[in-house]
């Protein structure tokens, strides 16, 4: 009985401590770094270099910085920077797509105007 009670009393706190330990021993944020890589590639493919150059280059810079922090075992800082790189690359991607779509829509408007003019002649 005594041992079970002790276990019950110590069990949760032991679990908590081990959880905390896992939390503290931060691993290199490989997942985030590769996600940032993919996000930047996607943005490049959407033409972000042309439409959102500042945002894209900021994302690239942050990913570079993230890699450097991880190399220096500053994994939490590296993770934060990678997260920001992802957010910026995703935003650059979406903005580039929005601009391209707006351009296409404008061209469609012009094409219709031209067609209408042709018809009325």
């Amino acid at each position: 009985m005594f041992t079970i009670k002790t276990f019950l009393r110590l069990g949760p706190s032991a679990a908590l401590i081990s959880l905390l330990l896992v939390g503290c021993a931060s691993e290199p944020p490989k997942e985030l770094l590769s996600q940032a890589d993919v996000a930047i590639q996607n943005a490049e493919r959407s033409g972000a270099a042309q439409y959102e150059p500042a945002l894209l280059s900021s994302a690239r810079t942050k990913l570079d910085q993230a890699h450097r922090q991880v190399d220096d075992d500053e994994n939490e800082k590296g993770a934060s920077l990678a997260e920001e790189a992802i957010a910026e690359a995703n935003l650059a991607n979406a903005k580039a797509k929005a601009v391209k779509q707006a351009n296409e829509t404008d061209e469609m408007k012009k094409a219709i105007e031209a067609l209408k003019q042709e018809t009325s002649r």
Partner: protein, 260 residues
């Protein structure tokens, strides 16, 4: 120097209240500017109908991100962490806005695109309307079964000379008019004649004639060429008329002149 007001009890109370409120203000943490901006960014986007309609998933992601920042703020985490999370939340709100604008623009694009097809059709129709057409062929009811709109093999054969002619004269436009007799409701007849004209049009298209050159119209029972009171007259009225555009350089082959 003594203040006279200090002797009045009501003034004492108000001074106490002011002092207390100063204490409270001092105790409450200074607000985080980045978090406040993220909140207001999110609130604005969440009340924007375009964003709500077109980027609800991104808006939801932004809300979750903002919640992370709020939690960090509540848990008294360091300013850098709150700033970082607020920054992420703001970028996600921006993303929702960008997505919303893309989706809205795409919707307009699709609407315009449909409109363009319409305008193009109209352009073709006006082009056709400017041309003079003459009837070169009348295909009798042997083309179709009663009430049906599938071309019969025997009917198809009658169309071969037309296909040959259209292939040789690639500037010629064709009008196909479906007609019925007066039996049945006029709506039914209009529909049937339209389907029959379309069937002939589709046959020409599958035979390699450009759809741009062919118009098909159901005329219903409204243009009889004979009386509808005799079966012989009704048979004449059930027909598909083929008209081709007249132009100086195109000559009508003699086989068309006879009619069928």
């Amino acid at each position: 120097m003594r203040l006279q007001i200090s002797f009045q009890p009501s003034s004492l109370i108000s001074i106490f209240i002011v002092f207390l409120s100063m204490l409270i203000t001092a105790c409450s943490p200074t607000p985080n500017k980045n978090l406040e901006r993220a909140r207001s960014d999110y609130q604005q986007a969440a009340h924007d109908p375009t964003v709500m309609a077109n980027a609800s998933a991104d808006l939801f992601a932004a809300d979750k991100s903002l919640q992370r920042a709020e939690d960090a703020w509540q848990d008294d985490e360091d300013t850098d962490e709150v700033d970082h999370l607020s920054y992420l939340a703001s970028r996600k709100v921006d993303l929702a806005r960008a997505t919303a604008s893309e989706v809205a623009s795409k919707k307009t694009f699709d609407e315009l695109s449909a409109q363009k097809d319409q305008v193009r059709l109209q352009a073709r129709d006006t082009e056709i309307a400017k041309l003079k057409f003459k009837e070169v062929m009348t295909l009798g009811d042997v083309l179709f079964d009663t009430g049906g709109s599938n071309l019969k093999p025997g009917g198809v054969q009658q169309l071969y000379p037309l296909v040959e002619y259209l292939k040789k004269n690639d500037k010629t436009m064709v009008k196909i008019e479906g007609h019925t007799d007066s039996r049945g409701s006029s709506d039914y007849n209009l529909n049937l004649s339209q389907m029959r004209a379309e069937a002939v049009r589709n046959f020409l298209i599958t035979s390699g004639i450009s759809p741009q050159r062919i118009s098909a119209e159901g005329m219903g029972e409204g243009s009889p060429v004979a009386t509808n009171s005799t079966s012989a007259g009704r048979q004449q009225n059930r027909r598909v008329a083929i008209l081709i555009s007249e132009s100086p350089q195109t000559m009508t082959p003699s086989s068309f002149g006879r009619g069928m």
